[in-house]
Symmetry: C2
Subunit: 147 residues, 2 copies
DNA sequence: TTAGATGCAAACCATTTGCATTGGA
DNA sequence: TCCAATGCAAATGGTTTGCATCTAA
């Protein structure tokens, strides 16, 4: 995962700097658990990374398709790692556990069949979509956190 | 629409005050076009409404189910009117025109069939979901704004 | 060598809060 | 009457910007 992010930077013509690698390591360690820029900055504070660098680099990684934002009721300031290659079809269909926060990606888009019908009925030219499914993941159910 | 919002307030035991009615009129005038709290405040500034009242009341209307937030790339600070009764099933499936911004609601949830299958395959207990479809509406297509 | 990246601090912007005052039920 | 709602101003929180300095390519 670190390698993937590093490659993304290089291939887009951005420099691979020490601060960026430090951030990349921290991001990779989150492993599909959402995080805020501020939280990441806190965790990297002692390495000397500046707040601006953290936010700038997160935005960069988002633009490169490696991170996406989560849209929960408390706002949309959380980032999550995307699945490699998932950005090719332009969207991410996600399952989000409201208990532990972990994000899983649907391998297959459940909307594909519906989109043509929706376009027809609505008169829209459908370009993309954004689907988040909320619930409790198997682990949290098993742990009895199921209320 | 104004009446609907007014009723929501009353039925929930909130007072129907002059400032709130002024805000409700402004919100109703937006007619499924998204708006930010700040923009609404600007438009109401000369009526003497305070910023805090605007934001407090918008949040109240959101909690009552009359407004929901839009989740676009530039953040999620935009509100839109919901369809009356749409909050009963707990979610809103939307079509959003990226040109004119107008929001349309899908009458029928295109996910219903898929959700059971997704729950089964993922081991999640699916509780709700959030679907936004982005594209160009018929009007904008007809107007030639189609690039 | 040199544009791109960094760190710091200050700026920014939307939103929230504290508090004394007002007004709807 | 009396508590919910208001307006103001100040605080907040997350994010961005300006700028001098540094460093990867």
């Amino acid at each position: 995962m670190e390698q993937r992010l590093r490659n993304l930077l290089e291939q887009a013509g951005h420099r691979v700097t020490e601060p960026r690698m430090q951030l990349i390591r921290a991001v990779a360690a989150q492993d599909f658990r959402p995080f805020t820029g501020e939280a990441l900055y806190e965790g990297l504070r002692d390495t000397g990374l500046g707040r601006a660098t953290v936010f700038r680099t997160l935005r960069l990684l988002q633009n490169l398709g490696a991170l996406s934002r989560l849209h929960l009721d408390d706002g949309c300031q959380r980032y999550v790692l995307t699945l490699p290659g998932a950005s090719e079809n332009g969207h991410h269909d996600r399952l989000i556990c409201r208990q532990c926060g972990r994000v899983a990606y649907l391998e297959q888009c459940p909307m594909e069949d519906s989109l043509n019908r929706i376009a027809e009925q609505s008169g829209y030219r459908v370009e993309s979509h954004h689907l988040d499914i909320l619930g409790l993941c198997g682990d949290c159910l098993a742990a009895g956190n199921d209320q």
